[in-house]
Amino acid sequence: MGYQFTKAEANALFQQWKERYDVYAPMLMKGEGCFSDTDIVRYGQPDTLEDIEWAKKSDYSFKEVLLSINQTLFYFTEDKTIVPNPPKKEILIFLRACDMHALTRLDDVYLKNGFEDIYYRQVREMTHFVLMGCTQSCETGFCVSMGTNKADTYDGYVKLDGETVLMDLPMAELAEGAKAEELAVTPDYVTENFEKVTLPKNLTNECFTDDIWKEFGSRCIACGRCNFACPTCTCYTMQDIFYNDNPKNGERRRVWASCQVDGYTVIAGGYDCRKNQSDRMRFKVLHKISDHEKRFGHTMCVGCGRCEAICPEYISYITLINRLAEKEG
């Protein structure tokens, strides 16, 4: 059901949501960018609708709400382990259409990949999603090419439109107590991006030896930003922490990992199967545009363009993919 609110009415409803949910949304973090006097847009907990960054795409995605950067799996003492409690409050995440599609990729990996990850499932079941529309394309996104420009599985849709706020609230709990003019509200979405991407369709293992990986990989500094900003990168590594004060106690954590950063493929005995950046880049790109699709029927990449925007070395993922497609003719 669609609604039209004044800003004050919408914020009153938002306060109700905040009582019921932990609300996460993209926020402009002043001065927290990489460089002095630069900002970053990442997920935080807004107090009002105005605290949300509506104009810019978030530099880091919503995934950190569902998949904590550091997540304690269990605490251990000498002969006991304790699994931490799931979050007490339900969660509401504001996100864009491309991110809604990214969510299905997270589900693929953590719920449909042979067995369910209990930690992910716990949080996922408690989480609801509010779509933020896009009235114009972001600079680096190519959602139209990837078919992720539209999302219709949202629990709520919110649009700030000057002094009025439009909402579509298919989830009844979100609409509770909403007194406002009812009308049809359909989410804004873009039908054209600045960037257009053509996926290569016939990639085989022969492309492993293509010089293109060396060409792009040799420029990579292995910082991992592309992975950390990506809404569909799901890799964790494991850390066992023995508390300094009492090493008999500790915890096992999983912590975000990056296939571009040193150590990702080091196995017991020290063997590292993807030592150079060219191999790592090939692995990442093929996983995003080909390997995941083989298993789940859609590419892992949703075309949000965050990796393109964040790379400090200006390695263009978009250019790389289009070049691969061009080679196929």
Binding site: C34, C223, A257
Partner: protein, 331 residues
């Protein structure tokens, strides 16, 4: 032709008397070396009209020196450069009087955080702010601003060097133990970071607040402090007696107190400058050498209330080259 020129007066007005009889040079200061491109056209116009050779020297202190101007043209040039003085934001007592004092040198600055990824503050903005506080003044002061400890502006060769710092803020919940910061700090800076239980430990004694950890961090676990911090180095100098590098005096200091200290130092110099100083120019460092650092501190710190996190060195010992000391020249 008779030429009656008050050289003392024109020198004070930022003109130079050159080797060539009857000719000099016109100096244009640019605080922080930062200007709108239109100023270049204005400088060119002056040079085209008044320079006999049409040459301009880019000065070491980020100004222009229009060469080969006729000394007799100085009154006219003084009026002609007014639009430039206004465009670069010089603190001037009366319009159309040129640069009324030239003893205190242009405040130079590295490119700063307008452009540079390493810089921790807007150097040219601070240069302009200090310019407003200390100009016009004829005492021989050199001040420079640099964005980070790389010190591209070579501020340690100045009476006052202002080096940008940031207090790194660490959020362990965003840290993924990639150690990019540890490696960056070790290879580019002082190696103040280590890892314990997969999290970063910052050695606060070692850390120089350069911000390399922040620029290296791929997850925003490291961010800059909202507050801007500065290191104040003092009494560096070049020269014919005892050139030396400025030494750290304040670390993790703030802008306002630094400006206060510089202003206080003018009063100190007024009090203690040698009556025999040629053209009333004496490096402040020599004055401090003569009257003692303790006395200098008394003057400099008047009305200064440092922040709790500011570290002040109790005493400073400068070394540098002593040209009068020839003892090491022979076996």
């Amino acid at each position: 032709m008779a030429m009656d020129i008050n050289t003392k007066k024109i020198k004070r007005n930022a003109f130079r008397v050159s080797k060539k009889r009857g000719y000099g040079a016109c100096r244009i200061r640019v605080p922080g070396g930062y200007l709108d491109s239109k100023v270049l056209g204005m400088v060119q116009e002056i040079a085209d009209k008044y320079s006999a050779t049409g040459k301009i020297h880019l000065t070491t202190r980020q100004g222009f020196e229009i060469e080969d101007i006729r000394l007799t043209d100085i009154p006219e040039i003084t009026r002609a450069i007014q639009p430039i003085i206004e465009a670069v934001g010089i603190n001037q007592k009366d319009p159309y009087t040129g640069y009324t004092e030239s003893g205190t040198r242009n405040i130079s600055a590295c490119i700063g955080n307008n452009v540079c990824p390493f810089a921790n503050y807007n150097t040219s903005a601070l240069a302009r702010k200090i310019d407003k506080a200390i100009f016009p003044n004829d005492l021989h002061f050199k001040v420079a601003c640099t964005g980070c400890s790389n010190d591209c502006a070579k501020v340690r060769m100045h009476d006052f060097g202002i080096i940008g710092m940031t207090m790194p803020q660490y959020d362990p919940t965003r840290c993924i133990s990639c150690e990019a910061c540890v490696k960056g700090c070790k290879s580019l800076s002082v190696g103040a970071l280590s890892i314990n239980n997969y999290k970063i430990v910052r050695d606060t004694e070692k850390c120089i607040g350069c911000g390399v950890c922040v620029t290296k961090c791929p997850t925003r676990a490291w961010t800059r402090s909202q507050k801007k911090y500065y290191k104040l180095t003092i009494m560096g100098r070049t020269g014919k007696k005892n050139p030396r590098l400025g030494q750290d005096w304040l670390v993790w200091a703030d802008e306002e107190n630094i400006i206060k200290i510089i202003c206080n130092t003018y009063r100190f110099v007024e009090q203690y400058i040698s009556p025999n100083a040629p053209a009333r120019k004496e490096h402040i460092g020599y004055i401090i050498d003569r009257v003692g650092f303790e006395e200098y501190k008394k003057w400099a710190l008047e009305g200064v209330e440092l922040m709790p996190e500011t570290i002040m060195k109790k005493c400073i010992y400068w070394n540098g080259i002593h040209f009068t000391d020839k003892s090491a020249w022979t076996d």
